[in-house]
Amino acid sequence: MAENDGETIVPDEQCNLTASTPMKSSGLEQVESPKERKTSMVECDDEGNPSSGTPDESPKQLTPHSIPPRRRRSPRRPEVSASRLPLKVLNQIFQYLPLKDLRSAMLTCHSWNNALSMEDSDIWQYLLGKKLPEAAVSDPFLLAELGSAKKKLRAWYFAWNTSDISRNNYIRTNGFTVHRQPVAQSTDGVRGKRGISKGVHAFDITWDGPLGTVAVVGIATKHAALHCVGYVALLGSDDQSWGWNLVDNVLMHNGAQLGVYPKMNNPPKYEVGDKIRLIIDCDTHVAYFERNSEFLGIAFNHIPPLRLYPAVCAVYGNTEVTMVYVGSPQMG
């Protein structure tokens, strides 16, 4: 608790004059309750003299209550509103908030929404550094297509799920690449962390290793199996998943082959390292793929209104698959 420190106050007549100044200001501003401890806030210099103004400034009056006609008070500023806080202040405040509260802040008022819409601001840079693995942040290619810290952070929340994965798969330290271990007679899948049920969403999927005899990309509900014995096109083998086997270019759902994809004669084989973009349009209940930005046609339609997760299943030992969420795709 702050108290008057006697050692810092020289109680002479001139010091009192300085101490009395706040009372004058208090009267001018009609402050209802003057602070009792104001004298402790003013200290005297070595000579114990309060300063005297230069001729350029309003002369200091000896009588506390007199108001010289020449004095000009600064116009009283309107009370500061939370919506008028400067960007530097907002950025500092928002850095203390978890994501859930940032969402509420975005919906609170226009200026806060503006501050949080700057996708490379300190807020998103800080969260990016805090949430993403160092291996992802320092990889120059992994998230290169995502143009902002906020988008990279969002991709992290959609990445492969370390706790929703076959036991023969593991997620590499970058958090975005699944690695299948060399286990015989096993098919192993993984789901993304976050499912979607409305809107249009795009996921970039790259098979970084050999395909083997089965390499399926697609979508799955929460209940689709992620492991089975043998080398099976597991994704698409039941009514809970839809898959595109890149090895033979066949679409699968509910155990049935839906035909060749892309829908053309002799569709080209997938080249390892090509980027496949999976687009799920929940509003029209369709899913389709692009390969190296080329639209390949509708793959699945009449998809039921369920929460859907991006998924892959693999059989080849030490193969790897990377998935990066990109949000709503650019409509060309």
Binding site: P22, E29, L85, I93
Partner: protein, 145 residues
């Protein structure tokens, strides 16, 4: 009183004069430069009222002997570490709290800036947008411009 460093003279936006000791002024990066310069002319603070400046001085007096905190990029971004004295000090109306954070920004007093921002953040945590608007009195339509 140190013979090397002189008090600095401040005039707030409402024309109130203050004499501030170096141990207080040096907590403000803005004012610390004037201590070094041995500035004799009063320093006008056009953005700070006397009422707010008194509170700033009160905070600086209490924290005059604080050991400097580690840099921001090392510090964990937590808001549950506001000291007991600061908690009481910041029990003011929201308008005063905002004026304090603006004064801390203008005067460049890092500790006061951080603690006021944390206090405001604590008023946001766990609340819906409607609740935040109510807490900060953002009901006017003009605030939604």
């Amino acid at each position: 009183m140190s013979s090397e460093e002189q008090d600095v003279k401040i005039v707030t936006s409402d024309d109130v004069e203050f004499i501030v000791s170096p141990k207080i002024a040096n907590q403000s990066k803005l004012l610390a430069d004037f201590v070094v310069l041995n500035q004799r002319e009063p320093i006008p603070l056009k953005n700070v009222t006397s009422e707010i400046f008194k509170k700033v001085i009160e905070w600086c007096e209490y924290h005059a002997e604080d050991i400097p905190k580690p840099p921001d990029n090392v510090e964990e971004k937590r808001t549950d570490d506001i000291g007991e004295w600061d908690v009481e000090f910041l029990k003011v109306d929201k308008g005063t709290l905002f004026e304090l954070v603006l004064a801390a920004t203008y005067l460049d007093i890092k500790g006061l800036f951080n603690v006021t921002c944390k206090s405001i953040a604590n008023s946001i945590k766990g609340k819906s947008p409607e609740e935040i608007r109510a807490v900060f009195n953002l009901g006017n339509e003009t605030n939604m411009e």
